[in-house]
Symmetry: C2
Subunit: 528 residues, 2 copies
């Protein structure tokens, strides 16, 4: 029972800590608009004068997240719509795809998520908006949605400077709008984060933020000038712009390792640092991920709705008026849709379970999340490929193996988020899923299920290449049920392990669970 | 000063009321998961035993909203991708579109939003989820995303029963899953709404909800049986299913008018009534609207990214290697994109401003919102049409007029939401925007701007048909700036009106605003 007491002590202590934090945060975020459910209570009494026109930024950010997540995944469409011919080898066409369209997709995803990260930073400083800021933000969004197009122009015409000029123009205008937003917000301090609002060196903050924001448009300005003289250099400059924070961070890390720890960033640099443990708004990471998962899950049905309704005259002529015969030709498309929807949905489910227990999201976790989402975006394409080739062909086998690889990487990056969170578990994770927490093993099982299954399927299809399609379909069907009974499986597995290795010591976890069940009874009895 | 005191009294009183309501609601929704920011404080002490596996349903609902909003708008794609030929009359092709594809789009939008409303009802009863419910909900979502396809099959082959059978099968399976969800949730009462959890007749609630849910699948079952015998009847049955709540409501309303008021619905029927003032979760109406606005705003850029990157060989041959010349052929597409993005963005902005001041959403307001969104979905198509025809042609004029009509209806339904909210303003609106509130006139101006401008443009193009395109473009450019200076315009207008009609009486509103400004100063002084 001693262990149990300790654990619940920790939990309670943590709960109290959290509660205090939440209170502090909700006071910091308190605004006096009717929509802000937390702020109303606190705010009504104290600053009822500032309401006029100020609003909670919550919905503006949700809308921005929705827009950006759509735009990040849009470049997968040209990849998915590339027709892969039956007679040529898949390997060849995949190589063709890899070099151009997939490259464009990945780079777009990267650039758009960088813009999104900058947007998060900006609106961690500005926590309330008014009409003017909302309109400026919409203008910014319009430019972000245009970025993928400039990027595909660059990919199609690498030697023409128009693409690079358009891209630079977009980034520069966006930088200017962001500066206007910052200047506007600092001229009305009640729009700002409480921390900056009460700090004495607001001007210092303003200059620091403006400096960080202007860095990127300035580099783009230089790049656009160089593009006239020597266009290869401007690509190098743009690449530096994109990876600048990572380069500077890794340089700093190397220097720290070589020369010993230098002093920490002072408190005044709390915002717009590029430290890997800089907090990212968890709410926005979730909203962005939801958007990407939703778009990816429906990508195939969009195509099906548009293309797979047969023409009545064709049905009459080719299939003798039998609609079922005509539709059965589309069978593989439906299978691909249901398969990809289920996989994307379950990956969302794992993501959801993970982020339920994450209490703080850092920049590095956000980066891993982006990688995971980039692979998720490729899933519909992979599923479509698996059903496009004749059964038992070499192409089919390769398409199935590509699907497994994509699922594996999407899952492994989710697992990596958890591993990174565990490194700093006191700050980033809820006690239930920390080492020794009651949900720790279950969460590990949930996160490891897809990578393990994908790896297993991959090797099975290598060995039993004749049965690759049945193996793959079996995997598709069993995984959802595996998730349903996972809690049971984990308990059985743990019990077996305990029996094998230490049969006499009672497991602290099972005691906690029994206690939980007991604790639940009085509550329910009280309720009914 | 008496008026002013009264107003602030009302405001304060309302704030207190709201605060109490909020507290009650947050206690009702209190869950013990780490993610639920409101519940943690209250929940930690009381039911710390129930945590195991239960989760706040917030993110699941956000993801469902994202999926459903994408699916609701997807059937606009076949409409948008219909090629309108230059030589034939637009009137003819529009008639062709109207009869089939637009009909399918509108019906899909309606049916999917009905499914979404049912989903809201269900998760207003079930406020916490666990893994099992999350997986069941995903299965439900998969079936909803398949509905548009069955519907387009029905439209393409009205005499073939396959479409209707597929549709009925989807709805029946969905009904069964929802029943399983309800039974599962009632077997674990801590998942339920606090109100049901503490009520004595849980079994009554369960049966009532199951009865309402099973009504639709049962009707579909009958329809699918009739489809074998006499398929026209099954369409009638399905139409009845869809409009059942509205039919029964209007019948009840007529009876009330004819025979006098019958007694009110008892308290026990709080959920799953179909009264027009039944509350809809405001959060979910916002999330769904955000999803639709985001998809619609990016529909054109999706096409542009995929189709409007010219082939290098074509540029070399036809345009002598000049990329600018090749891209200028796509000029109208870019214009259409920026125009539709700006219009959709500004309509979102108006929607956002309106819902900031709405405190409770009713079923009827949700219906009006759906109508507004259905028109918003048609906007990109209309904008694309305006730029597809040769200048000064009859087709161009008609395309511009159609755009104006769509904008007008999208805006007028937003205005209607406000008017409906004003009828019951004490319950549904924040004091600032009620009659006499400080923001009332400003909100009216915001909501009326787009309908007025669209109407004005429509009549101007009728009179000056030669200049229709310049008028339309001028409208596109001026409206964003009009929104920026709207507050100023409204103040000037009010001042003018006051001068004209009652020059001696000081306006109570201006006093409030001056007071506001005064009240703001000490707060800022206190802060800095």
């Amino acid at each position: 029972m001693g262990v149990n007491d300790d654990v619940s002590d920790i939990i309670e202590h943590h709960d109290e800590e959290e509660m205090e934090k939440k209170c502090a945060r909700s006071q910091a975020a308190s605004s006096v608009t009717p929509s802000d459910s937390r702020g109303e209570g606190h705010g009504a009494g104290t600053h009822s004068g500032t309401h006029s026109g100020t609003q909670s930024s919550h919905r503006l950010l949700a809308y921005s997240d929705a827009l950006i997540s759509i735009i990040a995944t849009v470049m997968i469409l040209p990849v998915a719509h590339t027709k892969v011919e039956d007679n040529e080898e898949l390997r060849e066409s995949v190589r063709l795809l890899l070099t151009t369209k997939i490259g464009v997709y990945l780079m777009t995803f990267m650039i758009v998520t960088m813009a999104w990260a900058a947007h998060i930073k900006l609106f961690q400083v500005i926590v309330r908006i008014d009409d003017c800021l909302a309109l400026l933000n919409l203008a910014c969004m319009m430019l972000i949605t245009f970025l993928p197009y400039t990027f595909s122009l660059m990919a199609a015409f690498p030697e023409n400077i128009l693409g690079i000029l358009l891209f630079c123009a977009c980034v520069m205008v966006m930088g200017c709008i962001q500066c206007v937003i910052v200047l506007y917000a600092f001229s009305r301090p009640f729009l700002l984060n409480e921390q900056i609002q009460i700090s004495e060196n607001q001007t210092f903050y303003k200059h620091h933020i403006l400096k960080v924001i202007m860095r990127v448009p300035l580099m783009c300005f230089i790049a656009s000038i160089f593009s006239v003289i020597f266009f290869q250099l401007s690509y190098v400059l743009l690449a530096i712009v994109i990876f600048l924070p990572y380069i500077s961070q890794s340089l700093k890390w190397c220097r720290n390792k070589a020369m010993g720890q230098v002093e920490e960033t002072p408190d005044s640099m709390l915002f717009y640092t590029y430290l890997p443990n800089e907090p990212l708004s968890k709410e926005r990471v979730e909203a962005f991920s939801d958007g990407v998962y939703a778009i990816v899950a429906t990508l195939l049905i969009l195509d099906i709705c548009e293309d797979n309704v047969p023409d009545p005259s064709v049905v009459e002529k080719q299939f003798g008026g039998s609609l079922i015969a005509a539709l059965s030709a589309y069978g593989p498309e439906y299978l691909a849709y249901f398969g990809s929807f289920a996989t994307v949905g379950l990956l969302w489910f794992v993501h959801h379970s993970l982020f339920l227990h994450v209490t703080k999201t850092t920049r590095f976790m956000g980066l891993l999340n982006t990688f995971s989402l980039a692979f998720v975006g490729g899933l519909p394409l992979a599923y479509q490929l698996t059903h496009e080739f004749p059964p038992y062909s070499r192409n089919e086998l390769e398409a199935i193996q590509i699907s497994c690889v994509i699922i594996f990487f999407a899952g492994i990056f989710q697992l990596a988020i958890w591993v990174v969170a565990l490194y700093n578990e006191r700050e980033t994770l809820h006690p239930y899923v920390r080492y020794g927490g009651s949900e720790h093993v279950f969460m590990l099982a949930k996160l490891a299920l897809y990578p393990c299954v994908a790896l297993g399927t991959f090797f099975l299809t290598c060995i039993l290449s004749r049965f690759s399609a049945p193996i793959f379909h079996l995997m598709e069907i069993t995984v959802p049920f595996a998730f349903l009974v996972l809690r049971l499986l984990v308990r059985v597995g743990m019990a077996l392990l305990r029996l094998l290795f230490c049969p006499e010591r009672p497991d602290p976890r099972s005691i906690i669970e029994v206690e939980d069940d007991e604790a639940r009874v009085p509550f329910n009895a009280l309720v009914t």
